[in-house]
């Protein structure tokens, strides 16, 4: 079970489809509800893109529209430059892994994988060869005669992957593929999926509500909220430079203090908070003096009890409570007037010494703070 998917195994010669996928102002209504409100996006050939968002944000509906399982009410979807709006799913040549895998319980593993090939009229000997290659690729070569019910969750996941790529589809679609697995297996499968995707070079779209999964797997993350795309970018872009409070909250810890912009000079805003501090942060667009704002900072950018205070803004506070997670500890520090900042510190030298209620110094670079208009 450990080790990785055999990335060197070939899928049987011919190049696998690495098609471009374009979404052009795609909209979808469910009765009176506009579930997808005009999504436009271009996915490059061979790219791995992740739709990330809370449930009900339209990410799964968008994926299902690419598969052809839902029809867009407006807009156009193109796969490899060809408009597919009117093509039913069985004519689209896509591969899909469902959240519950949807492996046919009345067929063996080998029959499951052979299904798509048989539907395409592939000859018997070719089907056998391809099925064997696909099973070897997901390292389950000896499992062909088993029933899906005789497999573990991780094995089912791999068979579902093998079944999705054996027909060499133009696009691979993954709908919350790891949601049913436990944490450890999920992390292992993340690596395996990424390696498999690189090895076969297939354009891949996957949907998740798990930000860590998105950061680990995707070349680009598409963050969705209420049927709209709110940000598209590389994982580090989306994490370091979220465009809105929603994106920053959804990816990573919420860590914010609110304040008021006193003045903006030379591209820097001076923000005063209820706790009596004044932060000098990079000024954003659309914010002017007098505005109420939230200042957001990642916990790992807040240092507990800094030894070297060069360039740091040092704040004195009271430790409210700590969250020990093994590798790191999160310290919730009250910096006055109920404003709490969370600081993350690696447990390099064992547990932190300060007990809740004690005084604690924290340091941060105001440059790394992000400023968003207050949500009232």
């Amino acid at each position: 079970m450990n080790g990785s998917i055999n990335a060197s195994a070939s899928m049987g010669g011919a190049t696998i489809g690495a098609a471009r996928v374009d979404l052009d102002s795609v909209k979808k209504w469910y009765g009176p509800v506009l579930a997808v409100r005009g999504v436009s996006l271009s996915i490059e050939p061979g790219e791995m893109v992740c739709f990330l968002g809370p449930s009900g944000c339209g990410k799964t509906t968008t994926l299902r529209m690419i598969a052809g399982l839902e029809t867009p009410d407006e807009g156009e979807i193109r796969i490899g430059g060809e408009a597919v709006n009117r093509l039913p799913p069985w004519k689209r040549n896509v591969g899909m892994v469902f959240q519950n895998y949807a492996l046919f319980p009345h067929m063996t593993v080998a029959e499951n994988i052979a299904f798509g090939l048989n539907m395409r009229g592939t000859s018997g000997s070719e089907v056998r060869a391809k099925v064997e290659a696909a099973m070897a690729q997901v390292r389950l070569a000896d499992y062909g005669d088993r029933r899906p019910s005789q497999l573990s969750g991780g094995q089912r996941q791999r068979i579902a992957l093998a079944r999705a790529i054996v027909t060499r589809p133009n696009v691979l679609l993954l709908d919350e593929p790891l949601a049913a697995l436990d944490k450890k297996l999920r992390e292992q499968m993340q690596v395996e999926i990424k390696q498999l995707q690189r090895a076969v070079g297939i354009t891949t779209v996957f949907v998740t509500h798990d930000q860590e999964e998105a950061l680990t797997l995707a070349d680009r993350i598409v963050v969705m909220e209420e049927g709209r795309i709110v940000q598209i970018g590389a994982p580090s872009d989306v994490y370091e430079r979220p465009k809105s409070r929603f994106v920053s909250d959804f990816i990573g810890y919420t860590n914010a203090v609110s304040g008021k912009v006193e003045a903006i000079t030379a591209g820097r805003a001076r923000v005063s908070t209820a706790s009596g501090h004044a932060f000098e942060v990079p000024a954003g667009e659309g914010i002017s003096a007098g505005d109420r704002v939230d200042l957001v900072i990642r916990p790992e950018k807040v240092v507990v009890d800094p030894a070297n205070t060069d360039g740091l803004m040092v704040l004195d506070g009271t430790l409210v409570h700590t969250v020990y997670t093994g590798a790191v500890t999160y310290s919730h520090v009250d910096i006055g007037a109920g404003d709490v900042l969370i600081a993350m510190s690696p447990n390099a030298h064992g547990e932190a010494a300060t007990a809740p209620g004690g005084r604690l110094r924290i340091g941060l670079r105001p440059d790394t703070m992000l400023m968003f208009p207050s949500r009232g």
Binding site: P89, W90, M119, T167
Partner: protein
């Protein structure tokens, strides 16, 4: 991966070895006891009595074992015709019921229509009326002075009345009507439990709706057809009232034959032999059917 494929062991799968929990076993037996008692008194006892009766010379004065009554029944063209007719009736009714019920079951299981409840009510409505009333209802429709004949006569299409009753197919019609709710409900309950993502997975893999139905949905719903078929087959094979009412004595089935032997001619051993042939035949058919379905749904 050294275990032979298809033969996982409990230990390998990380499951604990099976242990017999005697306390649990006892409470299970206690739960089964009332039903088991009822079966023993109401079914097993009469069955064994009949079995004994059919093999004994001159019941109730048993002297020796004999196959006399079986050779009598199985050698008599009269009985053979009845047996053949009964089994074909059950087979035809089962097939027709399954074919007619499947689309309705599909609608009940999958539709989001607001008329779904009305359809459900229509499906189970025959169950709310007694068999005898329904059979008389068909008499009103099919009889010589019935609805259809009156209509055809009124339209000038026929001179004399058509003989719609007293035929094998009028009995089939009545039986299908009476038994179709069982088939619809059996199939619908299984169809409703099939995850729609199976069909979607088939579509995405290139199967059009017809092939998806034949390769995925139908095999997955076989259990529903199977349980519905068993109910319909068994109820048809033992049917008495409907063949009497709609066949008007012209369509003799085994239940009527047994009744005749036991009550009219008071020949209990022969009646018992016919009853045993009916029971054993039914069991054989059900076993063969079960084996066939098992093969099909595993493909």
């Amino acid at each position: 991966m050294s275990t032979p494929a298809g033969a996982p062991t409990r230990a390998l799968d990380g499951l604990p070895p099976r242990r017999i929990d005697y306390g649990r076993l006892f409470s299970l037996l206690m739960l089964l006891a009332p039903a088991a008692l009822l079966l023993a008194v109401g079914l097993l006892w009469p069955f064994l009595t009949m079995l004994r009766m059919s093999f004994l010379d001159r019941y109730p004065d048993p002297s020796a074992l004999t196959l006399e009554y079986y050779t009598l029944v199985l050698g008599d063209p009269y009985f053979l015709r009845i047996i053949g007719r009964t089994f074909s009736l059950a087979l035809v009714v089962t097939v027709i019921t399954a074919v007619l019920a499947y689309p309705v079951a599909w609608f009940l299981a999958r539709s989001r229509s607001r008329y779904k409840h009305l359809v459900f009510l229509a499906v189970i409505s025959p169950l709310m009326v007694s068999i005898i009333v329904r059979s008389i209802g068909w008499t009103i429709v099919l009889g010589n002075e019935g609805l259809i004949n009156a209509l055809l006569h009124g339209l000038g299409l026929i001179d004399g009345p058509l003989q719609l009753m007293q035929s094998f197919w009028s009995v089939v019609l009545g039986m299908v009507h009476i038994l179709i709710p069982f088939m619809v409900l059996s199939i619908a309950s299984v169809l409703g439990k099939i995850d729609p993502s199976y069909a979607e997975a088939a579509y995405v893999m290139g199967a059009n709706p017809v092939r998806t139905f034949l390769k995925v949905t139908l095999p997955l719903s076989v259990q529903g057809i199977a349980s519905g078929s068993v109910i319909v087959f068994c109820l048809t094979i033992g049917a008495y009232v409907t063949p009497v009412m709609l066949g008007r004595g012209k369509v003799l089935v085994m239940a009527m034959g047994i009744f005749e032997q036991m009550v009219v001619t008071v020949d209990w051993p022969t009646g018992a032999a016919v009853a045993m042939v009916l029971t054993m035949g039914t069991m054989l058919v059900l076993i063969a059917y079960g084996l066939f379905l098992r093969r099909y749904s595993r493909r």
